[in-house]
Symmetry: C2
Subunit: 153 residues, 2 copies
């Protein structure tokens, strides 16, 4: 179904929460779990990953916690997804060239690479700050000209 893992989903929810409440200096895992209604062990696990990957800065000890490492508008969600579940690759051959045994006879790899770029570009244009605005949202993708969207060949 072309779906992200729950971990990534939760990770983005957590980061959006950081972006939406920048008044507090740090957020602890416990507080975040309570505010997002996500299970604490899961939240804790994900925060560690996000800190390791450079999205959050961590502070240990009592009164410790996490805070955003960058301002929300400088965090493309494509980057979050890539950090949490590896490179966005619709097919195996895009991620690991040479490993697909059909590659010598399959003509599609270069096509998938282009398609992948399009998806990545779409995701790369959305940042954390886009996720915290008020409703309703209006989408104007590609200047409203889907016919000019992609041109392979």
């Amino acid at each position: 179904m072309i779906r992200m893992s729950k971990e990534t989903d939760y990770g983005i929810i957590l980061l959006a929460h950081f972006a939406g409440d920048q008044e507090r200096l740090t957020h602890s895992a416990r507080a975040l779990a309570a505010e997002t209604y996500l299970p604490l062990p899961m939240v804790s696990k994900i925060l560690k990953i996000l800190a390791r990957e450079g999205f959050l800065v961590s502070y240990r000890g009592v009164k410790g916690g996490y805070s955003l490492a960058r301002s929300p508008e400088r965090v493309p969600i494509a980057e979050i997804i890539t950090a949490m579940e590896g490179p966005v690759a619709m097919t195996e051959c895009v991620e690991a060239p040479g490993e697909c045994r059909h590659e010598p006879v399959c003509q599609l790899r270069s096509k998938w690479q282009k398609i992948n770029e399009v998806v990545l570009l779409a995701l790369g244009s959305i940042t954390l700050s886009d996720l915290i605005g008020p409703l309703p949202d209006q989408l104007a993708p590609f200047g409203g000209k889907p016919e000019n969207l992609v041109r392979l060949q």
Copy 2:
């Protein structure tokens, strides 16, 4: 990793094969398996799905086989993906509104819907006929203006 299932991957390979060789009236599962180097039982299974979903027309009996139900340029790959693995939905809440227990407090659902539309639009603009052209490919997504790509809010 935001990846399609192998079934979908193989399905698109098979459909591209149909599109690339329209001289023969029908292709049998056995022949397709040999030509694409995919395992026959898998090919057979996938062809049944593609026929049931309306991408292929099937003919039973000796000398039977499958043929494309529509011309390649009228088959968006987004439709193939959707048919084979359900609606493209980056998050659970996009596919099944109301089922996510965080929905009442989560502000992100409408955002994900927009993001999803963008991905779908990107995939929807590519058809089977785009997959059989000669190399090299040149991609010009969104008229080369990624800054105009998506506007949430």
